[in-house]
Point group: C2
Chain length 357, copies 2
DNA sequence: ATTCTTAGCGAAAACGTTTTCGTGTTGACA
DNA sequence: TGTCAACACGAAAACGTTTTCGCTAAGAAT
């Protein structure tokens, strides 16, 4: 087994100095043609590649991006990672992943583990617990140490940094508008109980669309699911809740759900109750994941373009990293309220499938 | 903005030497109580944390694991990552992710990007293209440089390293046995065309189970899908193929599919043809993903325990990294054919749901 | 009074780079 | 013959650590 070769070894072997080797390999014209040839050949033979860690230390940049997300077994988040990895790789960066598992503490631990030189900047989405606690000091502390952050999806005004969000509000408006255009008269909303997250914006969009169309919102038509409990593993509970909801509101002819799980479950229940989709009830769900594509009938959704979000976030971060750093420091030093942090809004798109007419 | 503070700065500020600061912070009893107190207080005040890159360079280990997988928007792979991240974090390691996107070249590029000091070892699953090419030199080259690799799921005998695999063969046997016990007489197999991957083992398991039960395999009951084309985005093609298959083989009363997509599509088609599940046809799919859980009816599956695979793989790798390295080097140097590389087999489990009786 | 310990600290090397600044040799030119 | 430029290369610093070794001074032991 031959360990990776270093400049020093090449130098010793070829009886020149380390500096000469370094220069020869970078093609400096300070070194004679002869020596350069010899050194390059030798290096190639032994497959010399500069040690990244040494470079990182010297350059004080790691060419690595830290991703910190609540969960990875999740269609949306994994598409975002794919987007980030795509442009990161293209631009010469690596990607290191940390999972907060929706926990405040794990989020902090992960940040501290990475913020000590391992990465050049963060791309993250805030954990539920952090959103509940409304404690964002760790983000600000990181930024104050000169490490840029780009937040996506679950963002927060209290932290000044670049952000990439999906237009939850207008996505919901579009969806509900579509149902209204499709002649739905009694549109139900299935949403989450906790109002901290993006769910709130989607609910607001629902209300806005109704109002715009001069429809009076009926609170009976709004079902709030307690998503603190682990729904994924207690599907019966979800199903029962939705079934009761349907039975209490027989007139429902349209459903807008804030995620695809609620949407497909609603379809399942509706079919069970003898309703046909889309004839009797039309359904639209937020988030375009695997479930939507393969449900029967296939589900019309509001796509969030996760991959695109990831790409944009990565570009934003790398642009910032590679722009003149003194500039960035200025922002921080001045604590300039109208500093030009960018907030990118990714437009949603309605993917029409069989669950709507 | 205050950049992260270093030992040197603390030393200068407190008018001691760098070594003294380092020792004081690590609680060396070489330093007097007084000085230690003073230094520790100062360090805490300025939130000193040692620079990871410098430590990596000094210790010649990064405490980082490289994961290289074909795809991340994929339930199985993301559960594996979750498992890896879990134990990695617990044992003080970070996790850096590279995606090969099923491409041989991207796999190599990614490996080279990471193998130059950025990580201590790899956990990877081989890309389809690499399996087709049967070119594994990059794996062996990496191992020869002293960097351990743990392969999972898609492994290959040509590379000597630790491996974690799921028992595809027996998983398939179990599944088909279950169908037979449930009185299925004509069990169809829906598998993939390319015989390189794990699909082959599952097919063999199917055949074995039939034979064990003295059932003669009928080649008409085997449908091979060409998975070189992008099935996910051309569901109609898949659906049509399966429909034709069903129409040609009316006697089918059981289906074993090598992945959940094929299984749910089979269910969809069966229902369309007026067959009820599980009364007329029973279905079992390999891989327990989101689709299975939410299909109607819910799908009985062979679970691969992805998270567990990830955990085992991570433990294997970290054990190797932290065991006396000279030992490991021995294996490589001697190129010992019966060297104790470990091959862990994760047992599959049948998750019974509504698609079987 | 001399030697020996020991406590408390600093200097320096090492990890693997890149880069700046010297330095010695050669040949040309006056 | 002496001066100078150009060429080819090496020494050393720097990035931020840890650790080994050495040094000094004070007190203990002889």
């Amino acid at each position: 087994m031959k360990r990776k070769i270093t400049l020093k070894q090449i130098a010793r072997e070829l009886d020149v100095s380390i500096s000469t080797v370094s220069k020869a390999l970078s093609g400096s014209k300070e070194i004679s043609e002869d020596t350069t040839q010899k050194i390059q050949a030798f290096a190639k033979l032994y497959n010399y590649k500069p040690n990244n860690i040494a470079l990182s230390l010297k350059n004080r940049k790691t060419k690595t991006i830290g991703i910190l997300i609540p969960e990875i077994v999740h269609h949306f988040f994994s598409t975002v990672i794919r987007g980030i990895e795509l442009v990161a790789n293209k631009r010469g960066y690596n990607v290191i992943v940390g999972l907060s598992n929706e926990s405040f503490t794990k989020e902090i631990i992960n940040m501290e583990m990475l913020a000590n030189g391992s990465i050049d900047g963060f791309i993250l989405s805030i954990s539920k617990e952090t959103l509940l606690k409304q404690d964002y000091h760790h983000f600000n502390a990181t930024i104050n140490q000169g490490m840029p952050i780009v937040m996506f999806d679950r963002v927060v005004n209290e932290v000044e940094c670049d952000k990439v969000i999906v237009d939850d509000f207008n996505g919901a408006v579009k969806a509900v508008n579509k149902l209204i255009q499709n002649a739905c008269k009694n549109i139900a909303l299935i949403t989450t109980m906790d109002y901290v997250s993006v769910g709130r914006l989607r609910t607001q969009g629902y209300l806005e669309a109704l109002e715009n169309n001069k429809i009076v919102a009926d609170s009976n038509l709004i079902l709030k699911i307690d998503d603190s409990l682990d729904v994924e593993n207690h599907l019966e509970i979800l199903e029962n809740e939705i079934q009761k909801f349907f039975e209490l509101n027989k007139k429902i002819d349209g459903v807008f759900a804030v995620n695809e799980l609620y949407a497909v479950t609603a379809m399942k229940v509706a079919k069970k109750l003898g309703l046909s989709i889309p004839e009797d009830v039309q359904v639209i769900g937020f988030t375009d994941g695997v479930l939507s594509k393969h449900a029967t009938p296939t589900l019309t959704t509001v796509s969030q373009h996760g991959q695109k979000m990831g790409e944009q976030a990565a570009n934003l971060l790398i642009d910032r990293l590679e722009s003149d750093n003194t500039e960035y420091d200025q922002y921080i030093v001045n604590n300039n309220p109208k500093s030009d942090f960018i907030k990118l809004v990714i437009e949603t798109e309605i993917i029409e499938r069989e669950s709507t007419k």
